[in-house]
């Protein structure tokens, strides 16, 4: 490159370069300031002035983001289920505090269902004078429309109404559900927002995709805004049919990606309620914080150990080995050491209170390594056994790896040598569902209040939990079938009792702890935080304390 090309220019540059840098920076700043001021003073907003805040705002922080959208028939995420339980009215609902007795009562239905003798036709009277949030009247046609929509829309949660073949309009305020097979659990399934009526005119006007962005129901709250990844805003529906449940506040469902930040935001006062499966160490400091209170929903999830009885060649094929493992587990120690006592030990039946739990369920005997060793010797393993334990480190709680390590220690005392396998979530779920793991740590939670919702999943040979342990038992299949086709409570209690006894004999599930659901809140900022049932909360009870 000939030198004359750059030499003079370089001289020029050296003289002006620094000046130019400063000039450029100064120019940017000045232009920015001028632009801002001009924009601010001369631009007339085309939008109408914002209406004054009519309701105080309660901010609920959560790490449960909207997975797909807000459509009750599409998104089956716990967070959205909870929101849709207040934006939509299911036909029935569980009475708050269903435990220990399970009581279902009508919400949008006017009365209990009338079931035909063959159990195949359910006639349900509907509440009159109810309107959807967009003004559309609620009637039998809307119920039929909603059911048909659920079956045609890309709905993954439609399985809860698998037993229903069709819905007929009997008259303006009566519908008839026609079933494929008798299903005593239908009333329980109808408590879910998935099955709740949606506004037919809103669906038709908005189209599926837009309806999913801000769906319209009959519930006490209505969706106002969904800022993707940030928050969902709900406002009271003033025309709600049940005056005692018209909300007194605006509710903002604020999404956090980091539960530690959410905890800080609650302590600081940026949010009023925090709802999440935080690390139990965080729970502890929050439980002892004098400025915070908590509402607990017991029986949220069960963390359990699954013992696969169907892998050929695995020592776990032998029921004595499975019982030996059961005897070696010390639930109390797991609760104390790993969960700091925040999640209580679970030595009960997987059938929750209200689900006809068998009181005499005594499968989970006190920890007894000596007897466990004896059982192993009986089974032909005097020198102990080697078993692979699989778990996934994040999805089921941050403590799971510690649970695995403690189990390894506990089981070693009986000569059961665990090899720990930490598996990435997606792979874990895939293999777990396929029943490829001889021993794994999983969780179990009910969807709706009916014992069949547990039985058909964990005991029936076609249940998705049963498949994880390759459970295939004729007696259990029969009992599940009987339970779901019987409506008499006394008979059902007997059937589910027998079913639990059979499950205890097979020893494929070892519950470890109850993963309770906590809502932490600042009592100075919000009142009326309470648990409802499962992971649900009746947010319409929220209010600002009188003093503020």
């Amino acid at each position: 490159m000939p030198s004359f090309i750059y030499a003079p220019r370089r001289h020029l540059l050296t003289v002006t370069k620094m000046k130019r840098t400063y000039v450029v920076i100064a120019a940017i700043v000045i232009i920015a300031i001028i632009a801002v001021s001009v924009g601010y003073y001369y631009y007339t907003p085309t939008t109408a002035p914002i209406t004054p805040k009519q309701y105080p705002t309660i901010v609920l922080g959560t790490t449960l983001d909207v997975a797909v959208n807000l459509d009750p028939g599409v998104d089956y995420n716990v967070g959205v289920l909870n929101l849709n339980n207040i934006v939509f009215d299911p036909l029935y609902e569980a009475a708050p505090g269903i435990y220990p007795d399970l009581i279902l009562k009508p919400r949008l239905a006017a009365d209990n269902p009338v079931v035909s003798p063959d159990g195949l036709h359910w006639t349900i009277p509907l509440r009159q004078g109810v309107k959807f949030q967009d003004g559309t009247p609620f009637n039998a046609t809307a119920v039929k429309f909603s059911f048909d929509r659920l079956k045609t829309v890309q709905s993954y949660s439609a399985w809860i109404l698998d037993s229903v073949d069709s819905v007929d309009v009997v008259d303006t305020y009566t519908v008839q559900y026609n079933l494929k097979y008798p299903n005593a659990a239908l009333e329980g399934a109808l408590t879910m927002a998935v099955a709740a009526p949606v506004s037919p005119s809103a669906v038709q006007n908005m189209g599926v995709q837009n309806f999913g962005a801000l769906p319209v129901g009959t519930g006490p709250f209505k969706y106002v805004e969904w800022q993707k990844g940030d928050h969902v805003t709900l406002a009271p529906f003033e025309g709600y049919w049940n005056q005692s449940r018209v909300p007194k506040v605006r509710l903002v469902y604020k999404i956090f990606t980091d539960s530690a930040a959410m905890k800080l935001a609650l302590e600081k006062g940026d949010i009023d309620i925090a709802w999440d499966y935080l690390a139990t160490t965080d729970y502890q400091s929050m439980l002892t914080n004098p400025n915070l209170k908590s509402a607990i929903a017991a029986e949220g999830y069960i963390v359990w150990l699954t013992l696969n009885d169907g892998i050929a060649g695995s020592p776990l094929e032998n029921v004595h080995v499975r019982k030996a493992i059961e005897l070696s587990v010390d639930q109390k120690e797991i609760s104390d050491k790993v969960y700091h006592g925040v999640y209580p030990p679970d030595e009960d039946t997987p059938f929750l209170p209200g689900f006809y739990p068998k009181p005499s369920w005594n499968q989970y005997k006190p920890t007894d390594p000596t007897q466990a060793k004896a059982l192993l010797t009986d089974a032909g393993y005097p020198n102990g056994i080697d078993v692979n334990l699989y778990f996934t480190p994040v999805s089921y709680g941050k403590e799971i790896p510690d649970v695995a390590a403690l189990l390894q220690e506990q089981l070693a005392k009986s000569g059961i040598r665990l090899k720990l396998n930490s598996v990435e979530a997606a792979t874990f779920v895939k293999n777990f569902r396929a029943g490829n793991y001889e021993m794994a740590i999983g969780i179990m939670s009910p969807d709706y209040p009916d014992p069949d919702n547990v039985a058909s999943f964990i005991a029936s040979s076609t249940g998705s939990y049963s498949k994880r342990v390759r459970l295939n038992d004729t007696m259990l299949d029969q009992l599940v079938q009987q339970g779901v086709s019987t409506t008499d409570p006394a008979q059902r209690a007997k059937i589910y009792g027998d079913l639990q006894d059979r499950l205890a004999d097979l020893a494929v599930y070892v519950p470890l702890v109850h993963q309770n659901n906590y809502w932490f809140y600042r009592p100075t900022a919000v009142t009326g935080v309470m648990s409802y049932y499962f992971q649900y909360s009746p947010w319409w009870t929220l209010d600002k304390p009188a003093s503020t």
Binding site: T21, Y156, K228, G229, D258, A261
Partner: protein, 337 residues
């Protein structure tokens, strides 16, 4: 080569680069275990029938090469496909989350560039002294602290000392929404004549921008210092001093402009680092930007969304590099196209 030809060539070169990148991401995503269908349906409820149905609906039951070719041909038409989980177009999803990231990175750069370059130059000016040592150590320490940890510490400090700063999110949900025009909260607040919302938007920016901006500033400081020190040792600096220039004049007119050239390159390359830092910053501060969208998409194995984000990031980085190359021609007269 004319400048126009150069730009055209560079732009053409981004096409094979993006294709290669998409291919790599596609292969990685399909080799890695995990299934978007199971991620959507959850582990509990779905029957095999539902799983198969959804897999078919999403086109995931087709042979891999068919999926790949369909995706590539879609890309050539500017079609990024639909998000597997959210079901709407990937471009829509990205458009929703882009403004938040633009806002975060813009203010971070605005903090990082002057801060980094100035402190680097300041250290070089006092080379060997106490100021130099403290700036060097300070920036080195800051550079070594992971973004997410630094962010968390800032949050804890704010809470501990009761500072009136928000610790997460992009806006206070208690303030009734400013109508969205651009999606950039600061701009929208000005647009809506809402000083309260404007103040709120700036307050929400402080911690994330401090976190991301100082990370970038720390590395810029190091580079700026090294380059200025190097230039100060050059022969022409001695010549300038010998011919009677004052120290200040030597520094300003002879040393700085020459040191600026590599600093400028480095600043351009920092865009990639900035985007990477944005992913972490957005996660710590629950900032609804592209980085978080990408993280969520990876969690759900939403192949199309991941590929869309990666392509967008790649385009931004290559655009930044192109701008650096062009600005070379302006700053350094030896560079000719």
């Amino acid at each position: 080569m004319r400048l126009r030809t150069f730009i055209l060539l560079r732009l053409l070169l981004t096409i094979p680069m993006v294709l290669l990148l998409v291919t790599v991401v596609f292969v990685i995503m399909h080799i890695l275990p995990g299934d978007p269908v199971l991620a959507v349906l959850g582990s509990k409820a779905a029957s095999q029938q539902q799983i198969d149905l959804l897999r078919h609906q999403l086109g995931l039951d087709k042979p891999l090469y068919v999926q790949y070719l369909e995706y590539i041909f879609g890309l050539l038409r500017g079609d990024f496909g639909n998000s597997l989980v959210r079901q709407d177009p990937v471009t829509t999803e990205m458009a929703i989350h882009l403004p938040a990231t633009v806002e975060l990175t813009f203010w971070s750069m605005l903090l990082a560039i002057p801060l980094g370059i100035y402190s680097g130059v300041f250290a070089a000016k006092n080379v060997g002294g106490k100021i130099d040592a403290s700036i060097r150590i300070g920036s080195l320490v800051r550079w070594c602290i992971p973004v997410f940890w630094f962010g968390l510490v800032l949050q804890i400090i704010v809470v501990q000392y009761g500072l009136p700063l928000p610790i997460a999110g992009q806006a206070n949900p208690r303030i009734v929404g400013v109508p969205e025009v651009t999606g950039l909260y600061v701009v929208d607040a000005i647009w809506a004549h809402d000083p309260q919302a404007l103040a709120d938007a700036f307050l929400h920016l402080i911690l994330p921008v401090l976190t991301l901006g100082t990370t970038m500033a720390a590395s810029l400081t190091q580079i700026a210092r090294t380059n200025v020190v190097d230039v100060l040792g050059e022969e022409y600096i001695k010549v300038a001093s010998l011919k009677g220039c004052t120290d200040e004049r030597v520094f300003r007119k002879h040393a700085l402009p020459n040191a600026m050239i590599p600093i400028l390159t480095y600043t351009g390359l920092q865009v990639a680092v900035l985007l990477q830092g944005a992913i972490l910053t957005e996660t710590v501060f629950s900032w609804p930007g592209l980085g978080r969208l990408l993280v969520d998409a990876v969690g759900y194995r939403d192949f199309n969304l991941i590929q869309g984000c990666v392509v967008l990031f790649a385009l931004v980085v290559s655009l930044a590099n192109l701008i650096v190359d062009i600005s070379y021609a302006i700053v350094d007269p030896r560079v000719r196209f």
